[in-house]
Symmetry: C2
Amino acid sequence: MAEHHTQPRRPGSAGRRGSAVDPELLISAARAGDTRALGRLVSLVENAAPELRRVMKVIAPMTGRARVIGLTGAPGVGKSTVTAALIRCFREAGLRVGVLAVDPTSPFSGGALLGDRVRMQDHATDNQVFIRSMASRGHLGGLAQATPQALRVLDAAGFDVVLVETVGVGQAEVEIASLADTSLVIVAPGLGDSIQAAKAGILEIADIFVVNKNDRPGAQEVVRDLRTMLAMASYGEGRWKPPIVSTTAATGEGIGDLVLSIDAHGAWLASSAELANRRRARAREEVTAIALAELRQRMGGMPGESRLAELADRVAVGDLDPYAAADELISG
Amino acid sequence: MAEHHTQPRRPGSAGRRGSAVDPELLISAARAGDTRALGRLVSLVENAAPELRRVMKVIAPMTGRARVIGLTGAPGVGKSTVTAALIRCFREAGLRVGVLAVDPTSPFSGGALLGDRVRMQDHATDNQVFIRSMASRGHLGGLAQATPQALRVLDAAGFDVVLVETVGVGQAEVEIASLADTSLVIVAPGLGDSIQAAKAGILEIADIFVVNKNDRPGAQEVVRDLRTMLAMASYGEGRWKPPIVSTTAATGEGIGDLVLSIDAHGAWLASSAELANRRRARAREEVTAIALAELRQRMGGMPGESRLAELADRVAVGDLDPYAAADELISG
């Protein structure tokens, strides 16, 4: 739960109100640029707090404006360096930028190497940048539910661009990455399995390939391998063909090209039905995740909470099979 | 879906029967050592096939014997080399060994570097070893549901030890790793973020720490860091304190010590209530996952399938909030 931006406390700020939470007040404060209020809204999302229903109801009409960009790649490819370089570009263009890091190895999540931490400080005093690491609340599907809702909050708070950083290994992470308007898949030379890992699950979601650490030996080979792979895929008329952009994010090299590619993809999205499709798919996932969480809660809340323990006992010793147990759990 | 073990077809083998599936026949063939039949049973699990209910019912009394060992660690720490070395040790002790690889970067999953592939060939002709990569069927929670069921199948088929390899980054993977009787968390020097990544989510699940690539510079520092970390944690009386084992799995160095530590943990599990606790927790997760999948299917199967699309549309354009949509979805 690293919150890199702090703001001087202001009298009357909704952020100061201790434990009392007034959703409407928090929302208007967040929209007025109060990042403490925004941080508390995101915490409501992470904790699946009861106030969330009211928050979501109030902000529904305020959403749909933010551009959502996903950044995915294995540990070590330089995702956070690319993120930092993109923040800089978007800030230079006068945009407000939000970052959600869904990655246990991200410097945003406390897994920082010193260099990354220092690099992030560049933005720590800029109140047009909000960086937040999404913490898992430990149960499966938690992040898949929380991330689209946090996106929704940042969108309503008036951020122009929201970057979502995911590690790209692991099912939930791929799922989350697929929720972006534009998905960047980042690879780098010198990591034997970086493209292999990419192949395993995230190639389908790539709108743009970024070959980072372009100054390292092997970068050309990585580009060539990606080209070969793309040449084998078939892209029908009107379909987007993912470009390959080489960057050295640490020096900023290639980041301008990357932003141009992101813009080109954005223009394509807007001109096709794809933007609406993706946002509909995102909403569908979000609604389904909430409904499932609700159902799960209902299951846990039944007299069957103790029932589940007994059923699990019987399954553990081979006395009952798990399907029969699930049936009993559902029918209560 | 790499299946490294193939067996000559035998007349009358259940594995030969094309698309017809007789669960009872498959099960008895698998128990008799027919790995093609076993492979088909695991495929039923992956595909959540309707026959699975019957399979699970029949095998329930045959389960509970296999030792489940989880191996978790970031890409590059040498998980699969450790796995291969453990297979060799267990085979020398005359045990039947199953491997489930839940890791898109694993050589078992097709993300192989040549060296790993070659190393695995050692076991490819040994019909007491069954290696299977678990493929995700694309929806969240799929692997969390399939992995315990695949474990159950291998257990019923008479494997003494089942190794479950997970990448250890990503929520679903941590969840799966936590299902093992004994969880190994593998780290290595020279990967800046290997321990950082470990810290982020998998330390709590470690029963044994493996510092692999012990011949590389920095290995001693990694051991020292882990020791410091463990010294800060408090282990009450009767609790298991995770040992740190240094290995160079590629040469086999330290693997004997690792097996001794695994055995010691097994003895501790058996002497405490912890083994029963863990298996109960595994069953609970399994039953809950099946129940949720069933509920999800019911939701999808309702007249509300088209309803969901309409609700998602309204959420996407800000006309409805996701909680209200979820309510409508549940109440149908």
